[in-house]
Point group: C2
Chain length 307, copies 2
C-alpha cells in the first residue's frame, strides 16, 4: 500500500487530577490525514484544509514529527502529507497532537510498522514540542493508543494504557476564546504544598482504580484537581458554572481539558453526557461567547484507518 | 460469642510513591489480641505482654480506638482487652495501628458487626492519633481490609481496597534505632515543586496500574518516591545500601516502611523476597546495628479470627 487515509482523534489531557500524566482519547471528533509514500525522499505537506497552518515541513507539527521518525528509520522513501483539520487549533483537545500522532502513525504503517504504537510516542512528541514548547506526551499517547493513558515517567518515557469503562462518555465545550498553552502554563505555581500533592495523589489513584474496576462513582469522586484547576480556571469564562451545570445533569465530574479553554465532563451513558453538554452550552450561550460542543464515547483504539 | 481471639497484622504505609495514601498488609507478623464482652460497661485493658504500654484506657491506643467506637455504638456491654504485642513499637510497620484496628474489629464482631470494616476505619484512626499526633489511616486501613489500600480522601474518608498480585512478597528489615514518627515528619519539606508532584503522581498511577494488571515489572519501575524518601532516608542508617542490596537480589524495588526506620522491598515470589531479606540483613550486620527481618506475602484479608 502506498497511501493511507486515517482518522486522528481529539484527546483530553490532564483529566482533572492527572495533571501532565493522564490523557484520554475521543471518538466523535478528529482530523483526517492522507499520507502517501513517494520515491522522492523527504517530507512534504501537500494539502491543508480547515486551518491556517504552515506548509513548510519544519514549521508544521505533523512535518516535524514525520522528520523525527524518518531520521530514526532512514527509509528509502519520502512522504506526502495531507492534513484536513476538524479540531480547532488552541481548543485544548489535542489539535496539534492529532497531527503529530497521525503523521508518525501513517508513515510507520506505510513502512510495514517497524515500530510499535508506544515506540512512536517520542517522535510524535517532537511535533508537540513545536506547538507548545514542551515535549509532553499526554495528548499524543491517547491519540496513538486509545482509551486512557498514563505517562508514568518521561525519563525514560514509560506510558501505560488503561482501558476505559464501556459506558464512559465525555462532553466537551470549547469556548472560542484564545488561550495559548504557554499562557496557561505561566499561571501555574512552581511550588505547591506537600499536603496538596498528597490530595492529588489520592484522587489520581482513585481515578485509576475506578477505571480498572468500572466504578463510575469512584471515577466521579476522584475528578478533583487540587493543583492546577484552582489557578488555571480563572482564565476560562464561567468555568465553575460550566462544571456545576454538567454535574447538575448527572455528570460524574469534570475539569479543564488540557490547558484549556475547553472544559470537559465525564458521564455514565450517552444520554447523561448529552444533557451535560446541553447544560454547558446554555451557560456559554448566556454570556454570548461562541462555542462548540462535542459528546463522545472514549475511543478505545486511537487513530483509525479509513477506507 | 463473648470472647474473640484475633491476629492483628503489621502493615507497610506509604509504600514508596504512595506517601500518606497507600498501605499494604503483612501476613507473617502481627499481634494477638483477646477481646471479651462484659456486663460491666466501659473498656478495660486487662493484659499487655511483649511491650511496655499503658493500661489506662485513655492512654492506650487500643483503648482510645475502643472508646471512640463505643461512643458511637452505645452498646449495653463493656469490653476487656488483652494485647499481646509481637510488632515492636516504633518499628514503622504499624504497631499502634494493629492495636487500634484490632480493638475496633473485636468489639464490632462481638456486637454482631453493626459496622462494615471500612466504617471501622475512622474509629481506629482515633487510636492512631494518640500514637502519632495525626489521625492517619494508611496503616489501619490495610490492617482492617487486607491487601493494598488507597486513602483517596480524608475529608470525607474514602478508602479503596486493591487486591495484591498473588506472588507479591514483602521483605522488611527493622534496624532497632529509635525514630519517632513526629521526628520523621519534621524533616519533611512543607512545599515541593509541581514537577516533583507530577513525577510522584506518575509513579503512584503506575504502581496502582501494576497492582490491577499483575504487572510486576511495572510495580518495580513505579517504586520511586520523589517527595519524601530523599529527605527522610537520611535518618535511616545505610538506607541506600539496603535498597540496593535487595534490588541486586532481584527485588522489584522498595523504600521506607511508613515513617521508618524499617525498610521494605517488594519481590515476585517468596524465594526472591527471602534473598532480598538476607541481603539487607547482611548490610545491617556489617554496621553492628541490631535488627529484625521479616518475609511475608501480602495478607489478602487483614485481621484474622484465631481459634
Amino acid at each position: 500500500m502506498d497511501t493511507i487515509k486515517i482518522f486522528c482523534p481529539a484527546t483530553i489531557a490532564n483529566v482533572s487530577c492527572g495533571f501532565d500524566v493522564l490523557g484520554l482519547c475521543l471518538e466523535s471528533i478528529g482530523d483526517e490525514m492522507i499520507i502517501t509514500k513517494t520515491n522522492e525522499k523527504g517530507v512534504r505537506i501537500t494539502a491543508i484544509t480547515g486551518a491556517d497552518l504552515p506548509f513548510e515541513t519544519e514549521k508544521n507539527v505533523a512535518g516535524v514529527a514525520a522528520l523525527a521518525l524518518i531520521e530514526k528509520l532512514q527509509p528509502d522513501y519520502g512522504f506526502e502529507i495531507q492534513i484536513h483539520k476538524k479540531i480547532k487549533a488552541g481548543s485544548g483537545i489535542g489539535s496539534s497532537a492529532a497531527s503529530a500522532a497521525g503523521a508518525v502513525f501513517g508513515i510507520n504503517y506505510l513502512l510495514d510498522n517497524p515500530l510499535t504504537l508506544k515506540e512512536l510516542i517520542p517522535f510524535a512528541t517532537e511535533g508537540e514540542k513545536l506547538a507548545s514548547g514542551t515535549a509532553h506526551a499526554d495528548n499524543v499517547a491517547p491519540a496513538l493508543l486509545g482509551g486512557f493513558t498514563l505517562v508514568r515517567s518521561y525519563e525514560p518515557l514509560d506510558v501505560i494504557s488503561i482501558k476505559a469503562p464501556e459506558e464512559l462518555y465525555a462532553s466537551v465545550i470549547h469556548p472560542q476564546i484564545e488561550l495559548k498553552t504557554i499562557d496557561a502554563r505561566s499561571v501555574l505555581r512552581e511550588n505547591i504544598s506537600l499536603k496538596k500533592a498528597t490530595i492529588q495523589c489520592g484522587n489520581l489513584g482513585g481515578l485509576i482504580s475506578g477505571l480498572y474496576t468500572n466504578d463510575y462513582e469512584l471515577i466521579g469522586r476522584s475528578l478533583h484537581d487540587e493543583l492546577v484547576e484552582p489557578v488555571r480556571s480563572i482564565l476560562i469564562p464561567k468555568f465553575k458554572e460550566l462544571k456545576a451545570a454538567a454535574k447538575a445533569e448527572g455528570a460524574l465530574g469534570g475539569g479543564i481539558s488540557g490547558s484549556g479553554p475547553s472544559v470537559f465532563a465525564l458521564s455514565k451513558g450517552r444520554e447523561t453526557a448529552q444533557k451535560a453538554a446541553t447544560a454547558m452550552a446554555a451557560v456559554m450561550q448566556d454570556i454570548g461567547v461562541p462555542f462548540e460542543v462535542h459528546v463522545s464515547p472514549i475511543n478505545p483504539t486511537g487513530i483509525k484507518i479509513l477506507p
